[in-house]
Amino acid sequence: MHPERERARVLTKLVGWTGWLLPLLLIVPGITLVARGGGGGTEIVLAALAAAALGTLLHLLLRSLGTLLAQLDQPPPAPNQRLRDLEREKQLLLRSIREVEFDAGLQRLDDEQAAQLVAPLRQRALQVLQQLDAARVGQAPARLDQQIEQELKRRLGRSATALVLALSALSHPARAQAPGGTLPAEMLGQPLPSADLPAGVLTVKVIGSDLNQAQPDQTVELFRSGAAAMARVAGRKSGPDGRARFEGLVEGQLYLALLRQGDQAIPSRPFRLAPGAGIKLLLSTRSPARPLAAALALDEAAEPAAAEPAPESGAAADAEASDDPHAGVPGAPGSNDTTGAATLSAVAGLAADRIEVLTLRGPAREPLAGAKVTLARSGRPDETQRTDAQGRAIFSLRAASTASNAPRAAPAPTEPDPASFSLRVEHDGLGYRSAELTAKQAGGRRATFTVYDRTTSRKDLQLGPGTHVLAQLSEGRLSCTHIIVLLNPGPRLVDLGESGLRLPLPRGAVGAALSEETQGVARLEGDEATIVVGGPLPPGQLVLQTSYELPYDGSSLDFHQPLPLGSPRTLLALGEAPAVEVVGPALEARELRRHQGVAMQLFTLAPVARGKSLELTVRNLPHRAEWPRQLVLGLSALIALWAIAGIVQGRRHAARRAAQRSSVLEALVALEGRHAAGAVSASAYERERRALVAQARLVWDAGSPEAASSLGS
């Protein structure tokens, strides 16, 4: 069998079963519409038009492929180029003559000029008409066997459906749905920016001991930082899924949400809105509750805190407030002072405008006597005193505030305004200073100032328990909030020098940003790929919070983070991605929790030695499969290459065809010669001639020299 026919037969057989595909494709949208409860006029019209377009497309594809297979390489009916040229020239000449005469009629030209212009045109038009007559006489109409073509098209056309089927596989991958996991304690009360929520929206989910224990009908209250205290903004009851939703939060304001339990409350960490995103919060009824005032005061104080100083149980055991927000903030660049860790707490029995500075030394917290303490306001020293044997020095805030501005007034223990100040302690020739402290509440305050011996050795530094990564899937990237607990377990303050402590982010991290609190103690360097902790580290822990994104373009992502410090067992929480897997040598355990469609995976990661890397692979990430796109682009490129090759080969084809034409013409000439010489019978001559003319038609070309010369003759 002819190869073309064989190919057509095979294709027809292959795709024959797909003939019912078109009705199926038309029925499916209809069923979908009915199932969706649609029925709107617009939808029906659109669906009908879509179905019609689809049908047309299929029909055209069928015809296209069928036509191609049926007529491959068949020579075209030869249009008579020269005839058309002559026809065109005739029209132009006639029109030109009319124009000249029309212009003459409008008196734009006089008769003499018109005659001069028309004469050559008429002469040329006459020649063209004569040539046209001659060409028409010699023109042989080309005919094609359309019936055969149509039959071939009908029989082979269905093969185009195969193309549709093959391409239908080029689809997006299934989108991953939300998974879940267990609940690290660090996640409770931790604000998590979420791009899924509109800006200004906060959702608080109230749970019991576990994520799948949603607590409905719980009172959640939202507070906003006011001039002197946290002000209540709104209250909501949690819904059946344990969620309470707040809207209209303003970017830049400091908020705190708490779970109200009578006079007690379970607060979140204070938070500010991330630009363009909402916030998700998780609060547990099992978390320890505090008195409402303490919860608010605690958070008022803790809000700007980035460093958590060493515990000061003795100094502030009976105070209603604890760590000061700015405690432990490193000194300003260029300062010779070392930072001391200062905390602010209330002291009963102390006048409201008084500040008692309690100076302690080292982790042993021994009173530091004879130290020179300077209280500064707005960066300017206000008052200096020496500590007594108990390490105390007492300052008057009001007096201090007026000392620099106006004559000292009598102390008036009324409601003091919020007062900001900083402390500087000098001892043994070394300077220590606190960050800016703010006394926001009434009553006397105690500033506990701890100074430490210093060391430059970093060998004891490590990442502390509580270090974790909260990850959430976004479009083609993993959005991570990384909480790094930097632990200085020794008794001395670690001087990090000018270079600071460098903590690389995972490889490939982009869009890194530090939380507002962390910006006070660290910065990003090296194309935002490294966190540099600048100041000296007092004993205790420093919590850093950074967010970044890990883009990916496939189904997996390598999480590789060099750790210059040793890391204990840490956690990776992956929200709303149940299908996503995390594998790697560092993985110790995995827990999956689901509740009402919300799921979270919690991965426990093994300790990592100092100088090693945390390495994980995240798999099954939802992504747009690249292969269909690449396949389409590749196919297009192949077609283009084929076209280029075809065009180049077209020259050879033309040459071959010219040779065939020449050969047939020579054979015809030879036949004519034999016929003239009487060497062939009349019937044989006629038969052979018909066959040769038929061959000539196959290889004839309207643009060929032979065609042109025959027309010319």
Binding site: S64, S96, D103, R175, G646
Partner: protein, 682 residues
């Protein structure tokens, strides 16, 4: 939805590549099977694009936010009308719209010309499909409107840019896109004729209708854009030489030049190179406009359409220019003119002048448009202001008016001095009367405005005089009534006289443009009850009203208008703040229109406590003539484009024409056809 839509996008690319490849190879090998298959694949592209557009429209209708594009450009509260038209509210959708229009136009153009231009069509089809391939690659690689969210489908949409939620913006972009797309067809036929080696005038006949459609669509798009700017942007004008306005204006200028110059080639077999170059440049300008719109290279009021693929378009422009000019150089020997300029007093010479002026205007607008961007590359950014544009463009506009008036008075090849005297006599008198009259007794307009109005009168007089004179000649020669002669003349020569009507429209628009010189403008802060006086109007501010609907909050001011001391009505300028786009309030101006002038009031800021508000009040004289001019232009385009000659009764050949009959000795049908053909077909 996403899967089928993406499949359609992939099919568009594959079928377009397939079609282009088969067409080129088939044309080269003279294989009709390949060529036919290529054409069917082209129809397949059109069907795929249609399906894709319908799917996307459907997704907008049902607010399918699983599609990123739908979520980013609509919201449920929007009327269905705007939800569907949001389809072209962003990059991905507008690219799909472009491809869809191009595919449809290609299918129609190839279908209607496949028999007439059998040897050119495969190449032209290949060129069209290669353009589709370019857009297809852009869509597949970076701008697929059917990309779906990978993880979580948002519950709400982000809404459409408030500036686009305007009736003019519903039709303005598709009009411009249609104009851009249809300019691809003349380019394709020009390249097709060169590749096929058939460089006679045949391709012009295929290209002309599409150039006319493009010219009209661009004019419509530009006018709608002017109306949008006038009523939405609130700055008191309608044309600010914004880069994106210019992006549509530049191809329109070249298209106008092309429509005139193809007449010269058609009649005189001249300007062959010029025409293919114009077709190439006009097409390139459409892509250049897209580059300007998308790249952010230039600041524009259309900044919402920016993306990072603008520079891909720049690469495509470079490739098109290299290949296009390469092909022209390759075929240069075939492009020699058969005719020659015989006189400076010929229509072809003045058309050439007209072409040069139009091309100069285009290049000037281009240079001034991109100048800020270029200057920024080499140092400080230098902004080109509206007066700077006007300083150059007003003289060019005046020159074009002169050409518009003089061109139609000249005959092809040559005109006699005596004939010209007769032709110019009355139009010149009319022009002078209008100019001098307005100068002496009209408003205190500048010299340029007076000159413009005089020239407009001159143009209109020439346009009206010509058919009257021709009808008179025909009536005298054919011994018919004047009315019958005029009617027959207009119907049989509808292309010529349609063009003349367009010239009247242009003149009317210029009347409006020149009215800008009489513009009055005031800005004031008013408390309720306070008044502002401008020209013969007095406005009393009555107060503010705040309302809202599902989409937006509306701040509406009420002002009572007094004309010559008598109240004539109230107007209500407003500002709307869409809830999803609170940082982009829209200005809803109030316009009291009359034939002579518009009273234009825009609401600026306001003080809620005192109730005071800032108003911009503008008197725009003669602005109605701009819109009226466009309507007349549209009418002219319709007259020129529609087959009105079919309505004309066969005319008795006038003796002058009858003299042509002996030429067609032996071919009487030719002479009969000649008598029926258009005498002059711009």
């Amino acid at each position: 939805m996403a899967t089928i839509g993406t499949l359609c996008v992939y099919l568009i690319l594959l079928l377009a590549t397939w079609s282009a490849a088969l067409a080129l190879v088939g044309a080269r090998r003279r294989s009709s099977a390949m060529v036919q298959s290529a054409q069917l694949a082209l129809y397949g592209v059109a069907a795929s694009a249609t399906l894709a557009v319908l799917l996307l429209a459907y997704a907008f209708t049902i607010s399918d936010y699983s599609l990123i594009y739908v979520q980013q450009h609509s919201e449920r509260a929007m009327p269905v009308f705007y939800r569907i038209t949001a389809l072209w509210g962003g990059m991905e959708g507008s690219l799909l719209l472009w491809v869809w229009l191009l595919a449809l136009v290609s299918a129609v153009a190839m279908r209607t010309n496949q028999h007439r231009l059998g040897d050119i069509v495969p190449y032209a089809s290949a060129v069209l499909m290669l353009v589709v391939v370019f857009f297809g690659v852009v869509m597949v690689v970076s701008s697929n409107p059917f990309d779906a969210y990978l993880s979580v489908t948002p519950e709400t949409g982000k809404g459409l840019n408030p500036l686009l939620q305007n009736p003019y913006m519903v039709t303005h972009p598709p009009s411009l896109y249609l104009g851009f797309v249809t300019l691809t067809v003349p380019f394709a036929f020009a390249m097709g004729s060169l590749l096929a080696g058939r460089v006679d005038e045949t391709w012009l006949h295929a290209a002309r209708p599409w150039a006319l459609v493009s010219w009209f669509a661009l004019a419509l798009g530009l006018t709608l854009g002017m109306l949008w700017a006038y009523e939405e942007l609130g700055w008191g004008g309608y044309w600010g030489w914004d880069p994106v306005e210019n992006a549509g204006f530049m191809p329109w200028l070249l298209c106008t030049a092309f429509l005139h110059s193809i007449m010269v080639q058609d009649r005189r077999q001249m300007l062959k190179v010029w025409n293919v170059v114009l077709a190439l440049l006009a097409f390139v300008m459409t892509i250049f406009g897209t580059f300007l719109t998308r790249s952010g290279f230039i600041d524009s009021v259309h900044a919402f359409a920016r993306s990072n693929i603008g520079y891909v378009f720049l690469g495509f422009i470079a490739l098109t220019l290299v290949v296009g000019f390469g092909v022209i150089l390759w075929r240069r020997p075939l492009l020699r003119s058969r005719g020659a300029l015989e006189s400076a007093l010929s229509r072809e010479f003045w058309f050439l002048l007209n072409n040069w002026v139009l091309l100069s205007a285009c290049l000037l607008v281009m240079v001034l448009t991109i100048f800020p961007g270029i200057s920024e590359l080499f140092g400080d950014k230098i902004t080109i202001s509206i007066p700077a544009f006007n300083r150059w463009m007003v003289p060019i506009g005046v020159a074009l008016l002169v050409l518009t008036g003089v061109g139609p008075m000249l005959g092809w090849r040559h005109s006699t001095a005596a004939g010209l005297r007769r032709q110019f006599q009355w139009p010149t008198v009319v022009g002078l009367l209008v100019g001098v009259g307005l100068g002496l007794w009209g408003p205190a307009a500048g010299a340029v405005a007076l000159l413009t109005w005089a020239l407009c009168a001159f143009v209109i007089a020439t346009v009206l005089q010509e058919p009257l004179r021709a009808a008179s000649v025909r009536a005298r020669a054919a011994q018919t009534g004047f009315g019958q002669a005029l009617g027959g003349l207009l119907l049989r020569n509808h292309r010529r006289y349609g063009g003349y009507v367009v010239h009247i429209g242009v003149a009317l628009m210029c009347v409006g443009f020149a009215g800008e010189s009489l513009k009055q403008e005031k800005e004031a802060v008013l408390r309720p009850g306070e008044r502002l006086t401008i020209g013969r109007y007095e406005l009393r501010y009555d107060g503010l009203r705040i309302t809202e609907d599902d989409l937006k909050g509306m701040l509406t001011a009420g002002l009572t208008v007094f004309e010559d001391g008598k109240p004539t009505g109230t107007i209500h300028p407003a500002r709307w703040v869409y809830f999803r786009h609170e940082d982009s309030p829209t200005t809803e101006v109030a316009i009291q229109r009359s034939t002579g002038e518009d009273l234009f009031v825009a609401l600026g800021g306001h003080d809620q406590a005192s109730g005071s508000a800032t108003f911009k009040v503008v008197i725009n004289p003669l602005v109605t003539f701009v819109w009226l001019g466009f309507v007349v232009m549209a009418l002219g385009a319709a007259i020129a484009g529609l087959p009105l000659s079919a309505l004309a009764r066969p005319a008795r050949p006038i003796p002058a024409l009858a003299r042509a009959e002996p030429i067609a000795r032996g071919s009487r049908t030719d002479a009969a056809a000649a008598a029926k053909d258009d005498t002059d077909a711009p």
